[in-house]
Symmetry: C2
Amino acid sequence: MIDLYELAGADPALRFSPYCWRIRMALAHKSLNAKLIGWHYGDKRLPGGNTTVPVLVDDGQVIGDSTAIAIHLEQKYAEGPSLFGDEGSMAHVRFIVAWTDTILQPALFPLLGAEVIKHVKPAQQGYYRQTREQRLGTTLEKAAAGAVQHTSTALAAMAPLRSVLADEDFLGGVEPSYADYAVFGAFQWYRVLGAPELLNADDPVHAWRERMLELFDGLALEAKVAA
Amino acid sequence: MIDLYELAGADPALRFSPYCWRIRMALAHKSLNAKLIGWHYGDKRLPGGNTTVPVLVDDGQVIGDSTAIAIHLEQKYAEGPSLFGDEGSMAHVRFIVAWTDTILQPALFPLLGAEVIKHVKPAQQGYYRQTREQRLGTTLEKAAAGAVQHTSTALAAMAPLRSVLADEDFLGGVEPSYADYAVFGAFQWYRVLGAPELLNADDPVHAWRERMLELFDGLALEAKVAA
């Protein structure tokens, strides 16, 4: 039995965390079912003393941190399709995950912070605002007001993604890999929060995002989106 | 017999092209020897109608474009250690190559353009200046004067590199892959041009660069550096 603790909005059906989406997709890649348990900022009682989601509890074994969870799934469910490929490939995937963490998601965050806070439980909005505004160096609302510039920066940061996806169906080649799920998590975060379309229709990243949304019988496509 | 046409400075011993260094390292990875043929901007007579270096001529077969050359070496010399790993891994490597092309090298170029032109033959300096200043949107010298800001931008752009290399010896894991050679080409470009140290001694990228310089009996370490 597998439990996945994942971030939920004040509306518990709204699941927007990019890190949690990485694991939802990785579970589907391995054809595994998990019980999804919503968690809110400020909720206590995550298993194993973890303070952030996702947290996976697999037959009593507690794993926190999305990359550690993905590696656990790869090793424990080795008979399923591989998430990482061979050993060298895993290091390459870690670069793409690190790029998502350090470049892509920070480039998207100024466009999203003022949306996220609407879906944080009122009691936790102060905490959320304080920590995120410190990271941004400005208020959530001022960051959102700079959307034209931030959109331009985010689209420029996607250059390596665009370059590969002009030639390949997935970052993993003919099949998606964990690299695809890590990057897609950022786009699903953006989408679930109901943010305006970012990509031009002729952008190879747009076509790839459509392919990702259709995987696993539309798993990501059917997720609830903020009104 | 393999010939490699690569960019040479006005001093023909000075070989600074990042794309050519990718192939020098890839040849060494496959334990292949090549005759190195210097080429200058404006020189004619590259084989096969190519207009940029590197160009590889392998037993009469002409291949231009560094990625195409690397794929050729991988396929023709399949018995040697792999440059790319399995098929999925190749797509992941292409992301890292694309990141080098679209993010890392453009971040370093403002720091280097005014150095490169010193090593371009006088007759070609006008061409070089015109094309590069158009790309920069400013003069080579004004870009160089903004070195503090450009250095800060380049170091920030290296975040995913730093993150992976804190845990792994190479981008390819325990052994270098073509991803390492692609990224290293940018650092060797910087180094051969005699530009000032960019990395802090405690940066994981610094330790990795040292490992790269020592590969293949110090192949890159022993390259001539601009005075």
